[in-house]
């Protein structure tokens, strides 16, 4: 590779061709502030709109200043990041942004998580010289999942990169122009009226509070305070490897036991594990897959745990709704079992039970409100909060999370296997399904349950797993843009797979839109993934069908997987939707 000689603030250095000024500066410990810039390196996701101008630097011999985030070094380039000209331009850019920003930091959902706030602090801004009119657009609170507040939009366009380039949903783009510009759907439609999947990746990368989740914590508090209600909580697998970050713990710390103690401290009446729902999902999904394989059914079969993915294919591939598994997602399955089986066992009236889900995800909020999943009041999830919202509740309640002792989920619906834990990462659902399908198809007991070939963070992965005398061809995609590629292959009749797992978020649920903000540090996602696999390894039981309480549920209540009763409670159907 060709090396270039450059100087940054009088420091001579050599950089490979293609290096940005920003990266070159990092190499010599020169920090250049940024705002719109985002580079999720291993995920191949880059936002290089060069629009905020917070990173401008001086390049000798050139009249305009250069955006360090996107300007490539050239041989002999002499750069100054530290003179008054550059500093003043950067400061002015931030001041201008602040001059059009609501000063409600104390009440803002992103208080202390806001990158604009951090930047103002970092640049030592104590006064805004350019006061004037501020944007005054209405908030979009149309959806169950996310809130869009255009008045906090700084036009970094990161959300657009996620929505359009990564997820290929094409919902978000700039609306209006000049001072009135902000990011939103075409014609400034309400989010709920678009094909938005509510994956929440826009929220995950928004530097301010222009995009946040719908906050349901008040609803949870209200129910917890109601003596007539039996409030049950369930927690998704990806939550336990991330929530510690909200309390200063290292990313990738497994906090399952503390999490249960924390929920107990909030006085939930029962604390169950969505992992149990995941084991149940495998029972149904693996059965469905085997049925399809053995009876010439439609292949490949696609997983259906991820609600953003479900909404994506309903909008984008409405002609292919026979391909995904009919299984409900683990949270909805568990909700159904809580309001039927559990209610019966406990002698509770289903209408007195409130099911709260703690999810790493925003789409789960929208999923729980889907008409076909709420038509029977005794068969659903009532409230969904995110990992971040739970952390807020715990902070509000004064729970010292990091110092909590470990404790166990409640019995009956609290036990789970390693197979269900890995639902939290890309590749995990299909690996869990393979562990069960293997035993069921071959009649043997699989000894080596770790399928390394299904793991990793490549956007699209494929592997062939030998199951008896049959080669199970498996495809995995995370990120909806990658999913689209696999779907298009299926539509074109060139797909090579029997089963495909899809998760909407990069990394899977560990990278979900409801997780603690990663602020562009993708190592955090990797550490969460490692923790998920570590938790799996630590489990005594690592196959869903080995879960004794699952067995008991079928024996006592459901009969067999894919039975009539199972179909009634655990399966769903899909509805073709318009692409808007």
């Amino acid at each position: 590779m060709k090396m270039l000689s450059i100087r940054i603030n009088d420091i001579p250095l050599q950089v490979p061709e293609g290096t940005t000024i920003l990266d070159a500066a990092k190499a010599v410990n020169v920090k250049i502030p940024t705002l719109c810039h985002m580079n999720l390196k291993d995920f191949g996701i880059v936002n290089q709109s060069a629009s905020c101008r917070v990173c401008v630097v001086e390049v000798e011999g050139r009249a305009p200043l250069a955006p360090a985030c996107s300007e490539l070094c050239t041989d002999g380039m002499v750069i100054r990041t530290d003179n008054l000209r550059a500093i003043s331009a950067r400061r002015t850019a931030v001041e201008l942004l602040l001059s059009n920003h609501p000063f409600d930091c104390l009440l803002c959902p992103k208080n202390l998580e806001c990158e604009l706030q951090a930047l103002a602090q970092e640049l030592g801004i104590r006064e805004i010289r350019y006061a004037g009119e501020k944007m005054d657009h209405p908030k979009d609170t149309s959806s169950y999942a996310l809130v869009k507040d255009p008045n906090k939009c700084v036009m970094c366009r990161r959300c657009e990169t996620m929505c359009n380039t990564v997820q290929t949903c094409g919902i978000l783009s700039a609306v209006n122009r000049g001072f009135n510009v902000f990011v939103g759907p075409a014609f400034n439609l309400d989010m709920v009226d678009t094909s938005c999947t509510f994956c929440g990746q826009c929220v995950a990368v928004c530097p301010t509070a222009a995009l946040t989740e719908v906050n349901n914590t008040d609803k949870v508090w209200d129910h917890l305070a109601d003596p007539k209600k039996h409030v049950v909580v369930q927690v998704a697998p990806a939550v336990r490897v991330a929530i510690g970050e909200e309390f200063g713990m290292d990313p990738g710390t497994i906090t399952t036991g503390k999490l249960v103690s924390a929920l107990r401290a909030l006085h939930f009446d029962a604390i169950f594990d969505t992992d149990f729902g995941a084991d149940l999902t495998i029972m149904e999904e693996a059965s469905e897959l085997i049925h399809r394989i053995q009876n010439g059914g439609v292949l490949p079969m696609l997983t259906s745990c991820c609600p953003a993915w479900v909404k994506f294919f309903e909008h984008q591939f409405p002609d292919m709704l026979d391909i995904p598994s009919t299984c409900k997602s683990p949270q909805i399955m568990l909700g159904a079992i809580i309001k039927t089986y559990y209610a019966e066992k406990m002698g509770l009236k289903p209408e007195d039970i409130v099911v709260v889900s703690v999810m790493p995800c925003l789409a789960k909020k929208a999923e729980a409100a889907r008409p076909e999943l709420t038509k029977d009041d005794n068969n659903n999830v009532d409230i969904v909060i995110t990992t971040r919202e739970l952390a807020l509740m715990l902070k509000e309640a004064g729970v010292n999370f990091a110092g909590l002792p470990e404790s166990q989920f409640d019995h009956l619906l609290g036990e789970s296997t390693g197979a269900s834990v890995i639902f939290g990462t890309t590749g995990g659902v299909i690996e869990a399904a393979v562990r069960t399908a293997y035993d069921w198809i071959t009649g043997e007991t699989l000894e080596k349950v770790d399928f390394q070939q299904l793991r990793g963070l490549e956007g699209i992965r494929s592997a062939t797993v030998k199951v008896g005398d049959m080669n199970l061809r498996i495809g995995i995609a995370h990120g909806l843009g990658n999913a689209r590629k696999l779907l298009e292959d299926i539509r074109d009749g060139i797909s090579q797979f029997d089963a495909i797992e899809i998760m909407a978020c990069p990394g899977g649920c560990i990278g979900g839109g409801g997780q603690p903000y990663h602020h562009g540090d993708m190592d955090i996602i990797k550490k969460r993934q490692a923790a998920i696999y570590q938790e799996d390894r630590g489990k005594v039981l690592r196959k869903s069908h080995d879960n004794p309480y699952i067995k008991q549920l079928y024996d006592e209540y459901l009969g067999k997987p894919n039975s009539h009763k199972a179909h009634e409670l655990l399966h769903t159907h899909y509805i073709p939707k318009e692409k808007i």
């Binding site: 059009n100 004037g132 000049g178």
Partner: protein, 597 residues
């Protein structure tokens, strides 16, 4: 052309069309037919003659008689007198403002005398909807010559040697642009004509497209041949319906004649052109924004590099040339680089078309050799300031340019010298201002335009132009402080240095240049709460000078808000609280007793 003895050429440019020139055409046809002259006298709807202030214009050919301000009611007289009896209609001739002499021939008029028409060569001369007329004036000869005698490299060599630079504002060497695009290896390349003319008051590209569309088509084909492209796209704002229609007619005719399409002039070169309508966003004149718009995306600029020559439309190498630039190409190929480079100054060759507007006597389109001074344009061609008022400044470069004062009136116009005095060539808008124009207000006008036209992508332009506009608005209302001047200076400098594209980078120019040349006007607004030009309504305070007032009551009678009191033959007084500063009293007073703000 037909064998008719006389042609009545009626201007079909936008200005004249809006002053009923199409009705004039119809009336001529009717009158000629009634008189039995239809066969020997033809009526031609031409492109813009350029002398828009005197429109509608009718020129009789070959008599070379130029009638101005013709109305449909004048048609019968022109036919009866001029066509039938051969007598010039004196009252419709142009009268030179200085000499008061009536001039029948356009080339005798000072408006045309100093002009040199290359880009506008056929405007007003041919029927733009008839390809034969273009061909009759050497049309498509350059393309034929290039395709059969020159290699693409030779064409580029000629273009480079000619010294032609982009007329859209940037001033980049056209030949070099073509060469860079040619050198980029790709299976597909494109030629885009930038017809997104957006400067307020500028209409040269529109006039070329309306008056001589084939000159642009021919040049695009030449560019395609030079760079190795087979597809051309004209990006034109939908607000130019006449230009679009004439382009459509021209493209259809050129295809019919085999001058567009497959194997042009029986060579292996194939080239076709399509039209893409823009929604009229100013920023889409910036080439990367334009390309995104052509692609169907939001018209927003992206950082350069990569330049379009490397990665443009559909991520393929693309040449983007402005209309006026292209209109120069065919003559260069035909007459040679040496001819072209003999016109103009050392670094700026050829001519430039300006839309001369504002407080000059002769408003219109003028094409002058580079190096002509502003004084020549304003006083010789433009006929000086209306009503003999005092010249204050001339604004060039539209919203991206600055003001030029008396001090620099003798500056020869070229890219470098205009930049050196704080303005720029831009696309050729030239607005002349007199003593009644307030420079703070002018700066505010341009900032209102740019902040509205900003795409909103980058912070300095989105918010910087907005804040600068707000400050100027404050100053024109008499609410400014000295601190606002500092803010305008620092903000202006930062926006200029850190905005993403040319729109933002040049948006502060009207402020910075008025601050430099008319600082005293800013001070008057801020410190004395006074607008010296009397243009800022909020600051306009009219007063009656006691010593001069004789109590004639003329002012009180015309005051629309009845804020002037005083008995007849007594001194009158204006109630400043009620005064709306309309200036009616000032005009009505015959004794100069009303003091204008």
């Amino acid at each position: 052309m037909t064998t008719q003895r006389t042609h009545i050429m009626v201007c079909g440019g936008t200005g004249c069309v809006s002053a009923d020139s199409l009705e004039i055409v119809e009336k001529f046809k009717g009158a000629l037919s009634d008189a039995g002259y239809s066969d020997e006298v033809g009526v031609i709807k031409t492109g813009c003659f350029g002398f828009c202030g005197q429109g509608p214009i009718v020129k009789i050919h070959p008599d070379n008689v130029f009638y101005v301000k013709v109305s449909p009611d004048d048609v019968a007289e022109i036919v009866g007198e001029h066509i039938i009896k051969g007598r010039t209609v004196q009252r419709l001739l142009y009268q030179e403002p200085e000499t008061q002499k009536k001039l029948p021939k356009h080339d005798e008029m000072s408006f045309y005398k100093k002009q040199y028409r290359i880009a506008l060569r056929n405007c007003g001369l041919i029927n733009p909807e008839d390809i034969n007329e273009y061909i009759a004036f050497n049309g498509y000869e350059a393309l034929g010559k290039a395709l059969t005698e020159y290699t693409p490299d030779k064409v580029i060599e000629i273009m480079k040697a000619s010294g032609l630079r982009g007329r859209g504002g940037g001033g980049f060497s056209t030949g070099l642009k073509w060469e860079l695009t040619r050198k980029t290896v790709s299976d597909q390349k494109y030629v885009i004509c930038n017809a997104d003319e957006g400067d307020p008051g500028a209409f040269m590209d529109r006039s070329i497209l309306e008056g001589d569309p084939h000159s642009v088509l021919e040049a695009m084909a030449l560019a395609g041949y030079a760079i190795g492209a087979q597809e051309g796209i004209i990006y034109i704002r939908a607000e130019y319906p006449l230009a679009i229609k004439r382009l459509e007619v021209a493209i259809a005719q050129a295809r019919e004649y085999g001058l567009l399409g497959k194997q042009i002039f029986e060579t292996n070169f194939s080239f076709d052109i399509k039209i893409k309508l823009g929604a009229g966003a100013f920023v889409c004149g910036e080439e990367t924004a334009l390309i995104h718009s052509v692609e169907g995306n939001r018209g927003e600029p992206t950082k350069k590099p990569p330049y379009p020559a490397v990665e443009g439309y559909n991520r393929k190498p693309t040449v983007v040339n402005n209309v006026e630039t292209l209109a120069n190409v065919a003559p260069i190929i035909l007459k040679g680089a040496e001819w072209f480079s003999s016109i103009g100054t050392e670094k700026s060759k050829g001519t430039k078309v300006f839309a001369l507007a504002g407080k000059v006597n002769n408003v219109g389109l003028v094409e002058v050799p580079m190096g002509t001074t502003l004084r020549e344009i304003i006083y010789d061609i433009g006929g000086g300031i209306i009503g003999g008022k005092k010249f204050k400044a001339v604004q060039t470069g539209g919203p991206s340019g600055g003001v030029i004062t008396t001090l620099d009136l003798d500056t020869p116009i070229d890219y470098e010298s205009l930049r050196a005095i704080g303005s720029m060539m831009g696309s050729g808008g030239m607005i002349v201002m007199d003593e009644d124009d307030c420079m703070v207000n002018i700066a505010k006008f341009y900032l209102e335009f740019t902040q509205d036209e900003s795409c909103g992508k980058c912070t300095p332009c989105r918010l910087g132009t907005k804040r600068m506009f707000e400050i100027l608005d404050k100053i024109t209302k008499g609410e400014g402080t000295m601190d606002d001047i500092t803010k305008l200076r620092t903000l202006g400098k930062t926006v200029k240095e850190s905005a993403l594209c040319g729109l933002g980078q040049t948006a502060p120019n009207p402020i910075l240049s008025t601050l430099e040349y008319f600082y005293d006007e800013y001070l008057a607004h801020i410190q004395d709460k006074r607008c010296p030009a009397g243009a800022c309504k909020a600051l306009a305070k009219y007063k009656i000078i006691e010593e001069k007032c004789i109590g004639c009551t003329a002012c009180a009678r015309v005051c629309p808000v009845s804020c002037i009191s005083g008995a007849p033959k007594q001194k009158h007084v204006i109630d400043e609280e009620k005064c709306i500063a309309c200036g009616a009293c000032y005009t009505a007073c015959k004794f100069q007793a009303v003091l204008r703000p």
